[in-house]
């Protein structure tokens, strides 16, 4: 059997060699605590601040507005819980039904604590309408949280419009941008984003590190206590090598340079998959990030399809939900049945994906869909619905 073809960059990405080199150098030579006042600590501190500047530059922010975390999940939790913590019993949160689990589960935890939450639905193309967000706002709305690029479908939400309406109503907008950097342009100021979650491992950086952009004037209640790191917002000794890795990854992640190549790869894959009878693209065909493709193959049982394609590293739903037998809440939120959602695969490409891999993946999918459909010859109509 050929080596596995990795098409799951939306789950995580391989470490760029330049990022690995920067991290190794840091690990080998700069072990100081960046909070310490001696020379070793100051050298580590300098590396942290250089990385902070790289992250800030990539999203159009001032460096002092970037706060490092352990990843986007922590950043999302800090954004939601930190925003609502100080707003009392009548606080209200607006989010969507198709957010990442780290936002939805944080929202549900807040609901259990008494916060009112409105979940704005997406349409059949996976888009959250700004007008629907506007209609959900109340006098006591403390935060709106809408992701920029959906991790399962690649659909890009209109955060510019949502940011404008939030600004007009005096409500902070939180954007989960874990899938954005290096794929689509992101400017937190221009989009009027108040709080923005970022991660490193989707752009060939290390896992275990992320960041939260917090606009000036926005106050969040810390969720981790025990030190004054990150200006008291997020206690805990920074993992300097991780932060260095994130900085280097962000320095290399250029959406203008990488985006067109990624789009060409996925367009080629979709052309091949679209030739499979009944194959359906999930999500807005026009408003999508260049690196994610979600396709349903009716008439093919999902678990069987995944085993048949075990030489392809792809996802059914998000990696965070890989162990869950439940259908993708994003796809069902767009109107797919549980069965069709289970018969869907997410393909996501990145920096090291090759044209040969795309061609091979397209052939493999076509072959196995044909084979599994042939095994189900004579199956009733519901097997394809």
């Amino acid at each position: 059997m050929n080596a596995e073809i990795y098409l799951d960059y939306a789950a995580t990405s391989p470490l760029d060699p330049a990022v690995a080199a920067a991290m190794s150098d840091c690990l080998a030579h700069e072990f100081g605590n960046p909070s310490s006042q001696h020379a070793a600590g100051k050298r580590a501190r300098a590396l942290v601040e250089a990385a902070r500047a790289e992250v800030a530059a990539r999203v159009g922010a001032a460096a002092e507005r970037i706060f490092f975390t352990s990843g986007a999940t922590e950043a999302n939790n800090l954004a939601l819980k930190g925003s609502l913590a100080r707003r009392g019993a009548r606080a209200h949160l607006v989010t969507s039904t198709i957010e990442h689990r780290s936002v939805l589960d944080a929202a549900r935890a807040l609901e259990q604590a008494g916060v009112a939450v409105t979940y704005v639905p997406a349409d059949s193309l996976g888009r959250v309408a700004p007008d629907d967000v506007a209609r959900a706002l109340r006098a006591e709305t403390a935060l709106v949280s809408i992701m920029h690029v959906n991790n399962e479908t690649g659909v890009i939400q209109d955060v510019d419009s949502i940011g404008a309406l939030c600004r007009a109503r005096g409500v902070p907008l939180h954007v989960d941008a874990a899938q954005s950097v290096g794929k689509v342009p992101l400017d937190v100021g221009a989009s009027r984003i108040a709080v923005c979650s970022l991660t490193a491992h989707k752009v060939c950086g290390p896992k275990g590190v992320g960041a939260l952009y917090v606009a000036e004037g926005v106050s969040l209640a810390p969720q981790m206590h025990g030190g004054e790191q990150e200006h008291g917002l997020r206690a805990g000794t920074l993992a300097t090598h991780q932060v260095v890795g994130m900085g280097k990854a962000y320095a290399l992640a250029d959406a203008a340079r990488e985006g067109p190549r990624l789009k060409a790869l996925l367009d080629a894959l979709w052309r091949r998959l679209a030739a499979i009878p009944g194959a359906r693209l999930n999500g807005d065909p026009d408003g999508r990030a260049p690196h994610v493709l979600n396709v349903t193959f009716p008439g093919v049982e999902g678990e069987g399809l995944r085993l048949a394609l075990r030489d392809l590293a792809v996802s059914a739903g998000s990696a965070c939900a890989a162990d869950s037998p439940e259908a993708s809440h994003v796809l069902t939120g767009m109107g797919l049945s549980d069965a069709l959602a289970a018969s869907s695969l997410r393909f996501s490409v990145g920096r090291f994906t090759t044209e040969a891999e795309i061609e091979r993946a397209g052939e493999r999918v076509a072959t196995e869909v044909d084979r599994l459909r042939a095994l189900a010859v004579g199956a009733p109509a519901w097997c394809s619905a």
Partner: protein, 127 residues
């Protein structure tokens, strides 16, 4: 989900998959489904002089379903017609290492075989 090598082998290269030729003498068919479990199974058997001369299966379902349906079709071919419905699904579960949560799917295979038996009895009664 983990799969035993036997399940993977039967899923990758199923034997007795497909359809028997329409109009074949002694052809009986039986199927069962469970939409909640996302399972549909059909068996086609050619029964001549009380013996299963040929057996084929078609299935929509998980790898365990396909492997078990193929196992059943292989087991049946060459046996007596009176053996239809005698395949112990616990034996299939054990042989293939089917996890307990998939037991409901194996019961649909049992139902499809039972439907074959009913169809055969109906044909015999008609005769």
């Amino acid at each position: 989900m983990e799969y035993t090598p036997e399940v993977v082998r039967r899923f990758d290269s199923p034997r007795r998959a497909g359809e028997l030729q329409a109009g074949l003498p002694g052809l009986v068919s039986g199927e069962a489904e469970d939409r909640t479990l996302q399972v549909w199974v059909r068996f086609q058997l050619q029964v001549i002089d009380g013996a299963v001369r040929a057996a084929r299966f078609a299935a929509f379902g998980c790898p365990h379903t396909i492997a078990a349906a193929g196992y059943a079709a292989e087991w049946l071919e060459g046996r007596l017609a009176s053996d239809i419905g005698r395949l112990d699904m616990r034996e299939v579960e054990s042989e293939l290492g089917v996890p307990i949560e998939k037991r409901g799917k194996l019961l649909r295979i049992e139902d499809a075989l039972a439907a074959c038996g009913l169809a055969l009895n109906k044909d015999v009664t008609k005769d």
